[in-house]
Symmetry: C2
Subunit: 361 residues, 2 copies
């Protein structure tokens, strides 16, 4: 078998696969990646049993033959190559990788031991890839890193005929983003483990994404990539009830300026009291205050202030403020109430909403 393939394309596929294929495993077959011949060129696939990824590449092939090769080694070799065009030769069990003045010889693995990865051919639902990726990116931070309820470690995808939504919450804060309607005719809720959501974010760029849902697995396909991502059982508890209907004080301010001010005062925030930063709103000014045994920091921003109360003071964890603001460009609208969850929305991205519980004073 002989293959000619641009290094850039091969590197892109291997960069994605080397992230998910384990470097070591009790099942040695899982450390390999499979190179299969297709009518268009090559299909490179790998799995960690939580997520399968197959990357299609155009290539010139003579005497096509499938094989498996250690994934990390193959990715490192390809990254190290000097030339622009990579030549692969398979001779018995020896794979030669040549480019520029460099030649690598690698022992291929046992093709028969490699698990059969099945990517569905039918499509249930289509979505805009960029919108799905942006939505996952916007809410990902709110999923729990570790939590007593496993479901909080996932991102919920809600598909509806009129509009779609992704939601994440760790029980203390919440973020969702509404985006373009999908082609579904019936409402569905899927919870994607946050790590699998991270891989979807990396893979999904633009164009259309085709979804297939079957037996606890979400399959995702674009023109280049096919993915099977394990889903979590169950769905997020009803979260609509934590979203406050009204706020006693609302304010509008540049999200970027506020993020920077939070970062500044957080330098002296007390770690033992959750890095608390207080927002004090009064007279069209937002004052940020943080304190610890070491000192006190204060920052002032001009804001547009509305609401039924003339002033309010609410404390938050610095990191939760920063994360709620992170997807917002331009102005953020903040709704505050005494001992009530704070609401963050974006003037420029009306689909996004974040809820953050304040710290008790």
């Amino acid at each position: 078998m002989q293959v000619q393939i641009p290094k850039k394309n091969l590197n892109e596929a291997l960069g994605m696969l080397e992230r998910i294929v384990p470097a070591r495993s009790s099942n040695a077959a899982l450390t390999q990646l499979k190179v299969a011949v297709t009518p268009r060129g090559l299909a490179l696939s790998g799995t960690n049993l939580e997520i399968d990824i197959e990357y299609s590449l155009e290539a010139q092939i003579a005497n096509g033959q499938d094989f498996v090769v250690p994934a990390q080694l193959f990715a490192q070799i390809t990254k190290a190559l000097s030339g622009e065009l990579v030549e692969l030769h398979l001779n018995g069990s020896e794979l030669t990788v040549a480019s520029g003045g460099s030649t690598f010889k690698v022992q291929t693995g046992d093709l028969s031991a490699y698990p059969e990865l099945q990517f569905p051919s039918e499509t249930h639902i289509t979505l805009d890839a960029r919108e799905l990726s942006k939505s996952l990116t916007s809410v990902r931070y709110a999923a729990a890193a570790e939590e007593f309820r496993a479901i909080f470690r996932g991102v919920q995808l809600e598909l509806n005929p009129t509009s779609s939504r992704v939601v994440a919450t760790d029980g203390f804060r919440l973020a969702y983003r509404n985006f373009a309607a999908s082609s579904t005719t019936e409402a569905r809720k899927l919870v994607i483990p946050a790590r699998n959501a991270d891989e979807l974010i990396r893979v999904l760029k633009d164009g259309e994404v085709r979804l297939t849902i079957s037996q606890g697995t979400l399959s995702v396909a674009t023109d280049k990539v096919r993915i099977n991502a394990k889903l979590m059982d169950g769905e997020l508890p009803d979260y609509a009830r934590v979203i406050p209907a009204t706020s006693s004080v609302t304010l509008a301010v540049s999200a970027g300026a506020l993020r920077e001010a939070v970062a500044r005062v957080a330098v002296v925030a007390d770690k033992s009291s959750n890095n608390k930063v207080e927002l004090i709103v009064a007279g069209g000014k937002l004052q940020l205050v943080a304190e610890s045994d070491f000192g006190r920091a204060q920052d002032v921003l001009d804001v547009v202030q509305h609401g039924s109360e003339p002033a309010i003071t609410v404390g938050f964890r610095a990191k939760q403020l920063t994360e709620a603001l992170s997807p917002i460009e331009g102005e953020v609208l903040i709704g505050l109430g005494l001992n009530a969850p704070a609401k963050f929305t974006a003037e420029s991205d009306t689909g996004y909403l974040a809820i953050v519980n304040p710290l008790r004073v």
Copy 2:
């Protein structure tokens, strides 16, 4: 006390000091930095008892007064500030740091508990700062990280009336760089702990550097900075005898191209055999070969070859090859002999020489 100082200048000084001042110490005074009023402005100083650094800054000062302040906190605050001009106010034991819309209040420490740092005023020797810094940078890699003889963890500075040299060796490889003569009238050898050499590299930029040597300490001064760096006892063993007088094969090749080729083939080099890379020279070609259980890599470069032997094969640790080549721009001249140390010199920087012991075949 009131001070006005440009943030950029303050940040530069604090960036240097925060690297050496410990974040925690059984002697709490050492976690502070001292801010002293001088005729020119402020002098900021800190120590970890291995190295003292004092940074002079121009500033506008009213009612000048010395104080100490937690170094890491002060550095973090200054980095976080939004404005261009920083104002410091000292009111009793409370320091206010203000810039842009931000105000920080910090408790100062106990000035009387801070160790007295003495920087000598007389100068023994003057040197070119850039040449000293470049020389330390060029040989630093060859010092031992851990070694049975502590002296190998230092960089030796040899001062002579006609020429100066820095040398480092871990007993298996060696690097030196000769540079401009100093103003010394008697030959001297000093061994600077590698970590202190790293700080000198960071501090020394250009102009003249003034050295003072006293009681196991090297003091270094430029127009901005004064440093006391602890020296090691003793000196490096005689290293001249390991430098081979002749080579059976010499070759000239682009150092950059060789570094890249070593990095490429090292991808498959066997970790259990010291990541060995073989250099095979014959017929005006340099072939690089590395092998492991996983595969074999080979790379070929055109070289200019001379010497008494028509061909030679010598194996090295990949990392030692890369490091010996690292300071060399343009062409490297390599002298090889069977079971003999290899010699690396630079066509463009004739002061530099590296010796690397080959691996036994």
